[in-house]
């Protein structure tokens, strides 16, 4: 039983295309995140949703739009993909703030823009 699952694991696409990455967690957590890991392995937060509300929105191009239909899902849609968007994108979840047992990560989606 995967706690945080994201699909697809690999995504290869052309510049200018629009793509989505889906994420689901079955842990009953109320907070979900998207992190980007660049080619130098640096992990940077992009977005965070708590109870379907956006609470963190770092400096991310508005081509990236997160969507949270419910607490268990946080999808990432990317418009007009650029070469610099190539990275590994991690979804994660936690049980809110103040109870930081750990951040549960999905297995990542490697996005390659050609």
């Amino acid at each position: 039983d995967t706690a945080v699952s994201q699909t697809p694991k690999y995504l290869v696409t052309q510049m200018g295309n629009d793509k989505s990455i889906k994420c689901e967690q079955n842990l009953g957590h109320d907070t979900m995140y998207w992190y980007k890991q660049d080619s130098k392995k640096f992990l940077k937060i992009m977005f965070s949703y708590n109870n379907k509300e956006l609470i963190i929105n770092e400096t991310v191009p508005n081509r990236f739009s997160p969507k949270s239909p419910d607490k268990a899902h946080l999808n990432l849609h990317i418009n007009s993909l650029e070469l610099g968007d190539s990275a590994v994108y991690f979804c994660a979840s936690s049980q809110g703030a103040g109870r930081w047992e750990k951040l549960f990560f999905g297995s990542g989606t490697q996005l390659s823009v050609l």
Partner: protein, 114 residues
């Protein structure tokens, strides 16, 4: 907001030996949590160890232990009896107790020499 600094981009250790990975952090929070995550080549993010800042006792998990120096804002990870499976990227991270934003350092790549 927090900043996390890992000053060692790469480290190596002989199998069965001990290695220490360095991490310093800065936070304005009075209550916070510190983590070490491991990322093997499989890309999965795995929690190694967690420390609550209000606890003076250093956390330990089997062969993994930390040296938490709160005044110096230092949080180093010691791996004893290193094994080949310990080879991975190691990330130090910090989050305020009331925050939703877990901030990662840039990582240390650990190689284990047989």
């Amino acid at each position: 907001a927090q900043t996390v600094t890992q000053s060692q981009p790469e480290m190596s250790v002989q199998e069965a030996e001990t290695v220490t990975l360095s991490c310093t952090y800065d936070t304005s929070e009075s209550d916070y949590y510190l983590f070490w995550y491991k990322q093997p080549p499989s890309r999965q993010m795995i929690l190694v160890i967690r420390q609550e800042a209000y606890k003076q006792q250093n956390a330990t998990e089997n062969r993994f232990s930390v040296n938490f120096q709160k005044a110096a804002k230092s949080f180093s990870l010691k791996i004893s009896d290193s094994q080949l499976g310990d080879a991975a990227m190691y990330f130090c991270a910090c989050v305020g107790a009331g925050s939703y934003q877990l901030t990662f350092g840039k990582g240390t790549k650990l190689s284990v020499i047989p």
